[in-house]
């Protein structure tokens, strides 16, 4: 994964002072703006160790999850957390996860996909429209909108959950998928991100050129602006997807019927069976289910990594 101790560190005699190592280093950094310096950046023992620690900190839970998913309920109690038990039950566990309780896990998986496609997809679409409009059009009250958006970013969704519940229950929408999808459509952070991105990524001259050529506003947006926004769109899509995929609190108070649960609620319900009199204790299925739950997210990140990274870096370099 990451290179640990490196020969280059011998260049800086004091490993505990990485900041000074940068300035007092033997190789003057700006001697030549060649590619040699960027290819072999200075290394610091402290930073390497820190990164290593963080790597362990982030990877160990995943390793634990992966190993634990191969154990039976008995094996979980008997064996050490970071090594395999005698019996390898991963395939059995996966099979059981999908068949337990009439295969409700599959239903939860589909529910989650639906919430993500409609909720995160819709949120992204609305964020693109709003961000583009705010970035490229002038209208009265724009500063007010800015204040509202920034304020909305600061309010955690959980704080709004109870008022939202009361509102939705007056509309008769609780315990339906709409109660999860509609609030998910609003992503102030996504809107803000799109706004900033659109300001940077779309030259006003380009829009003016399109208008002079006779393109209508809709056509300008879809044919000219949208392709330029692609990296930003992917970033917002990833953020909203992760937020919707992991959303727990909103469905928790909105939904009662397990048939509409997303994976988060379903797994929590399986887990709390262990806290119930006479309940079936199925930690092995909870763990396997959790593993299966993060697989699509990992896949999405790996597939979209290229766009996502370019999106995050956008605007950081003046061209």
């Amino acid at each position: 994964m990451s290179g640990t101790s490196s020969p280059a560190t011998s260049a800086s005699p004091s490993p505990s002072a990485p900041a000074s190592a940068g300035t007092a280093g033997r190789v003057p950094r700006l001697r030549r703006r060649g590619d040699q310096d960027t290819r072999r950046p200075k290394r610091s023992v402290l930073l390497t160790v820190l990164t290593g620690l963080i790597l362990v900190y982030t990877v160990v839970p995943l390793v634990w999850l992966l190993i634990s998913a191969t154990k039976t309920q008995e094996g979980l109690a008997d064996s050490s957390g970071l090594w395999f038990a005698d019996d390898f039950a991963l395939w059995d566990n996966i099979g059981d996860t999908f068949t337990y309780n009439d295969g409700i896990f599959g239903r939860w998986l589909l529910n989650t996909l639906m919430y993500v496609v409609l909720g995160a997809g819709g949120a992204t679409f609305l964020a693109i429209l709003g961000g583009y409009a705010l970035a490229k059009f002038d209208f009265p009250g724009k500063r007010g909108v800015f204040a509202v958006v920034i304020g909305a970013v600061a309010v955690p969704g959980t704080a709004l959950a109870v008022p939202t519940f009361l509102m939705f229950s007056k509309m008769g929408l609780t315990d339906t998928p709409w109660a999860v999808i509609v609030p998910s459509l609003i992503s102030p952070f996504g809107l803000y991100l799109m706004w900033v991105f659109a300001t940077e990524a779309i030259p006003v001259e380009l829009l003016e050129a399109a208008r002079i050529d006779g393109a209508g506003e809709a056509r300008t947006f879809f044919r000219v602006a949208l392709p330029l926004l692609a990296p930003g769109i992917v970033t917002v899509l990833l953020f909203t997807t992760v937020a919707t995929w992991n959303n727990y609190f909103l469905p928790l108070i909105m939904l009662k019927d397990p048939d509409w649960y997303p994976l988060t609620l379903g797994l929590s319900a399986w887990n709390s069976q262990a806290e119930t009199i006479g309940g079936d204790v199925i930690f092995n299925l909870v763990i396997t289910g959790s593993l299966l739950t993060i697989v699509p997210l990992i896949a999405a990140f790996l597939l979209l990594q290229k766009y996502w990274q370019s999106g995050l870096a956008a605007g950081s370099v003046k061209e």
Binding site: L166, K170, K256, Y261, I277, G278, G279, D280
Partner: protein, 445 residues
């Protein structure tokens, strides 16, 4: 039964309790539905006509009961919704009642939480269906929990007369006698921990349900409830007996600092870290599925007594099925509740491992002679039934016990982690409960 409420959930629970209180005032004008007598013929007619009943309950054996009930009354559809338990269940129930939308026709309500819903007129008085005549069917503890004067707020579904579960393998290994009094229990705790520092006699990191059960057994009666007049007092002799004994275990660090119902807990029960567990008679089912690797190691014994020879016991846990006042299809809902908790449903539930609250089922030979494979063939039901018969019936919980339990860790919980004494912790629990009760409009003495 459940522990470790996150602060967020607690806040939400409080919010919904407040909301519940608010609607109780508005909704009280249509409580005529609760007092009109409904005859058995009305119920039969409704069963013939058919309809659907939504049941919010997590009791696993109800699945079979619902299926059987639908077979018997094909026109009735039982819609069993039950993935949630504990706090989440009550939050959802309180939210639905305060929103006056989506209220279930039948809800599982634990004994300690019944008062909160009955007092805010959230439940239907089942005596209008003749449920008050079922009194003699039930053991005194659970019946006392569901009834209030001539009103009946639910039918007892199960009960949790307490027993002491102990890991025989560990006790045998260190040649320690199974304690019959709490003094012997403390002595056994010292011996065990000395013999193997990894072994603790019990886990306790502060658990409201356990503490109230222990006070119950020790003869303490901290809560007195008369309508909206309540009294909270942890200064009686029974409470002192409990705190004196338990304080020794805390001071000498003889309790494993493990929260109940966590994976750590199940692990500890399996690997010998936790050597005993004083809990309800429903525990065997959880042993079987949660601690499969220790099958054969554990046994049940009567609860240790406070004075040698005393047989007094207490209840831990247990729940009822109740009819929320805003639910529909009351006749069908009642028919289902009666079937599940008093009729043929009880038998099928007992077969699946539920511990009944009905005296007749506790006395059958088949029940008493059941050999528990998990307990090495022990006829544990004899111990449980004996315990059920010795539960005092004058215990009551607060009408806002759910809230009180939620602040247990902020008050009494300090005794487990700091220098606070258990008895002082109880005092501050008392003060906080009194304060809350006054804020809610109760007359607190």
């Amino acid at each position: 039964m459940r522990r470790t409420t996150s602060r967020l959930m607690r806040g939400l629970a409080v919010l919904s309790v407040l909301a519940l209180g608010a609607t109780a005032c508005g909704g009280s004008d249509d409580d005529s539905s609760g007092s009109k007598p409904v005859s058995a013929d009305d119920v039969q007619a409704a069963l013939k006509k058919g309809g659907s009943v939504t049941v919010w309950a997590w009791e696993p054996t109800l699945k079979t009961v619902a299926a059987d009930f639908q077979k018997k009354y094909p026109k009735v559809k039982i819609n069993l919704v039950g993935e949630r338990s504990g706090d989440k269940h009550y939050t959802a129930l309180s939210n639905a009642i305060s929103a006056e939308k989506g209220v279930p026709d039948v809800a599982q309500v634990e004994y300690f939480a019944l008062g909160q819903y009955s007092l805010t007129k959230g439940l239907t008085d089942l005596s209008s269906f003749g449920a008050d005549k079922l009194k003699d069917q039930y053991t005194p503890g659970p019946w006392n929990a569901v009834s209030e004067g001539d009103k009946v707020w639910g039918l007892p579904m199960d009960s949790g007369p307490m027993a002491l579960y102990y890991n025989k393998k560990i006790f045998d290994k260190y040649k320690i006698e199974v304690p019959t009094t709490w003094d012997e229990y403390v002595e056994a705790a010292r011996k065990l921990h000395k013999a193997d520092p990894k072994v603790y006699i019990a886990n306790d990191a502060g658990d409201a349900g356990f503490t109230t059960s222990m006070l119950w057994q020790a003869g303490s009666r901290p809560y007195k409830v008369d309508g909206t007049t309540v009294k909270v007092d942890f200064s009686d002799a029974g409470a002192k007996k409990y705190t004196d004994t338990w304080q020794k275990l805390i001071d000498e660090k003889l309790l494993a600092p493990i929260n109940g119902w966590t994976d750590d807990w199940y692990k500890g029960l399996g690997d010998g870290t936790i050597a005993t567990l004083a809990s309800g008679a429903w525990m065997p089912a959880n042993f079987v599925t949660g601690v499969p690797n220790a099958s054969g190691d554990w046994r049940a014994a009567p609860m240790p007594a406070w004075t040698k020879g005393d047989k007094a016991s207490a209840e831990n846990g247990g729940s009822s099925l109740a009819l929320p006042a805003l639910g529909k299809n009351k006749e069908l809902a009642y028919a289902f509740v009666e079937y599940a908790n008093s009729g043929a449903g009880v038998q099928s539930r007992v077969k699946e491992g539920a511990f009944p609250a009905t005296t007749a089922d506790l006395k059958t030979d088949a029940f008493l002679n059941t050999e528990f494979e998990y307990f090495g063939g022990q006829k544990a039901n004899e111990i449980f039934a004996d315990s059920a018969a010795n539960v005092a019936d004058d215990w009551s919980y607060l009408p806002f016990q759910q809230y009180a339990n939620s602040i247990f860790n902020d008050t009494v919980g300090k005794a487990y982690v700091g220098s606070t004494k258990l008895i002082d912790g109880l005092k501050s629990w008392q003060d906080a409960s009194v304060k809350y009760g006054k804020e809610q409009g109760f007359t607190v003495e």
